[in-house]
């Protein structure tokens, strides 16, 4: 059916929530408590709109579309309503912007610029509550900054069902807290930092690390396990220091991870900053070594489809037996996002028909004199005496090797991953050129 929003006709279906329709059609509608995956709560009152025929303004998150619905978000009346509710949200809000990590991606700042811009009438003392409370799991709570939208409470109650967070007290002394002596403790805890529209819940890991307006973003996929949750890699490069990845943020994908990440995956950005900085070998040296009989290559199942394809071709040309072994941890997977298969692209390994049989690998390994390790994490656990090892690494080297080549990690690559459900996904490189060459380029030289 068609409804009218600000004199424009918009198409929608019966049963749609008005706020969903507005967000989908890029109509500006301020909101705190509504979140697509958590649903509506109706307590912030910011999404009020004027509906023709209704006595009072209505909240868009509790209004279903109907035939002949006419909505206004720009009338003088509703503009004043938005301004006055925003003023009340900001009334007891501490002026922490200069030290608050949320600055630059804070809804209160954004809405103030859009609907506020008024002179403050604050003339009574602000309510004081707890600040910089460490909740555990890398989450810091500042109760004064909180607008009591209850997104975090609903997340731990309804999504993770671990119930650590709740509201205590009543009225204007109501605040978000964990029960005394307890802490936030579940594998998805840091999602509350992203859910929080203001700086009440912030990441301890990111605390005071970087101002968000200096960060660039690239669309990527988490390589922590085979779920392939969609992420943004936030990074920047400053004049006198190298490019650094500062954090992962979730990217919405309604078929895979919605808008959530597990903490393990979220913090796996640290590996991207941990690259090899020692001396690298020359390609000529490797060419010489390849003149032996028993050669074995082990490829990481987290490499992209294109990288695995290039390795397969290289191994076929040089007559090297190629294997790839899965990273399985049966204690890691759960019934939501985390999977026991902790590699990013094992499905591609299968699709390319690369040998994954462990006993066959062990047999070949015993006899091999030259082992080429394409970034596989498990090789360093094995007995490597009497064998020449050539390492291709995107991070650090653990053992001593004959030859070392380092190549660009996935933040500087683009490629395809196939996740545990067979979904093919693309990830993209950040905009800065990495000092490490790309794996495919090295292989081409050989």
């Amino acid at each position: 059916m068609k409804i009218i929003i600000d004199n424009t006709e918009i198409e929608c279906q019966e049963g749609d929530l008005l706020i969903d329709v507005m967000l989908k059609n890029s109509v500006k509608i301020p909101h705190f408590c509504y979140q697509e995956d958590l649903g509506a709560n109706g307590n912030c009152r910011m999404c009020m709109v004027e509906i023709k025929g209704a006595k009072r303004p209505q909240i868009a998150c509790d209004t279903f579309v109907c035939e002949n619905l006419e909505v206004s978000t720009k009338s003088q009346n509703i503009t004043e309503v938005k301004r006055s509710i925003l003023e009340l949200e900001l009334l007891n809000h501490p002026v922490d912007c200069p030290i608050c990590d949320q600055a630059g991606e804070c809804k209160l700042q954004d809405y103030y610029m859009d609907y506020g811009l008024y002179d403050s009438h604050q003339n009574t003392p602000k309510t004081k509550k707890g600040k910089h409370i460490d909740l555990g799991s890398n989450v810091m709570l500042d109760q004064e900054r909180c607008v009591l939208c209850t997104r975090c409470v609903r997340f731990t109650s309804n999504i993770t069902k671990t119930g650590e967070l709740g509201i205590i007290g009543r009225g204007d002394s109501a605040r978000v807290a964990v029960a005394p002596g307890r802490e936030l403790n579940n594998p998805y805890a840091m999602n509350v930092v992203e859910l929080c529209p203001v700086g009440a819940l912030t990441s301890k890991d990111f605390r005071f690390a970087q101002r968000v307006w200096f960060l660039d973003s690239t669309k990527s996929i988490c390589h922590g396990c085979s779920r392939g949750c969609n992420i943004h890699i936030d990074y920047n490069e400053t004049k006198y220091s190298d490019e650094k990845v500062h954090r992962f943020r979730s990217r919405r994908n309604n078929s895979i991870n919605k808008s959530f990440l597990c903490d393990y995956g979220r913090l796996s950005y640290k590996e991207l900053n941990n690259t090899y900085s020692g001396e690298v070998s020359k390609v000529e040296d490797l060419k010489q070594l390849l003149d032996v009989d028993k050669k074995l290559a082990l490829a990481s199942p987290s490499l992209s489809y294109q990288q695995l394809e290039a390795i397969k071709e290289f191994c076929q040309n040089k007559n090297i037996e190629l294997f790839s072994l899965a990273y399985i941890d049966n204690s890691f997977g759960d019934n939501w996002l985390k999977t026991n298969d902790m590699s990013a692209n094992f499905a591609s390994v299968k699709e390319l028909s690369i040998n994954t049989n462990e006993s066959e690998f062990l047999k070949s390994f015993e006899n091999a004199t030259l082992v080429i390790n394409f970034d596989h994490k498990k090789l360093s656990d094995m007995e490597l005496t009497n064998k020449k090892v050539v390492e291709f690494t995107s991070s650090q080297i653990k053992s001593s090797s004959e030859l070392i080549f380092s190549f660009a990690n996935f933040a500087h690559e683009s490629g395809t991953l196939i996740n545990c459900d067979g979904i093919k996904q693309q990830f993209f490189a950040s905009k800065y050129k990495d000092k490490h060459p790309r794996l495919i380029e090295i292989l081409e030289e050989l």
């Binding site: 119930g163 709740g166 007290g169 307890r182």
Partner: protein
């Protein structure tokens, strides 16, 4: 867990379970029983209730902090609640509070509360939960000494 209900209360709890369609409705009655037993609601009591009702600890704790009558700290003295809302204020509740603070502040915990539904007997207070109305310094002395 070092909290458990008395024999008598345990029987009451069992009979209450039959009266509600879902056991989570028992949060308030169980909190009251715990408070009556120990004069306050301890962390152990909340753990016990949380396990018994199969609800998160935080949920029980959050409900307990919402209601003003639930005490989460062990009280040291007997409680006097003085009503401070309009009808009582118009009839001298402030003077009653001062009198109490000056003469009984050491022996009792004296707090102000909102309307107790005793406006025709203003000014009023409760001592240990029992209503005392039409207060004068003299009538207070008779009750408290």
């Amino acid at each position: 867990m070092s909290f458990s209900y008395t024999q008598e209360n345990t029987i009451k709890v069992a009979s209450l379970l039959n009266k509600y369609p879902q056991k989570k409705a028992l949060v308030l009655p169980l909190l009251w029983m715990a408070q009556k037993q120990d004069s306050f609601i301890s962390e152990d009591a909340i753990s016990h209730i949380s396990e018994f009702l199969n609800l998160e600890y935080m949920h029980i704790y959050s409900v307990a902090t919402f209601y003003t009558m639930f005490k989460l700290q062990k009280p040291q003295k007997k409680l006097i609640e003085v009503c401070r809302t309009l009808s009582c204020e118009l009839n001298g509740s402030e003077d009653i509070k001062s009198y109490l603070d000056n003469n009984y502040g050491d022996d009792y915990e004296i707090i102000e509360v909102e309307c107790m539904g005793a406006c025709s007997g203003a000014p009023m207070c409760t001592v240990d939960g029992k209503y005392h109305e039409n207060l004068t310094p003299k009538s207070l002395d008779e009750v408290l000494k």
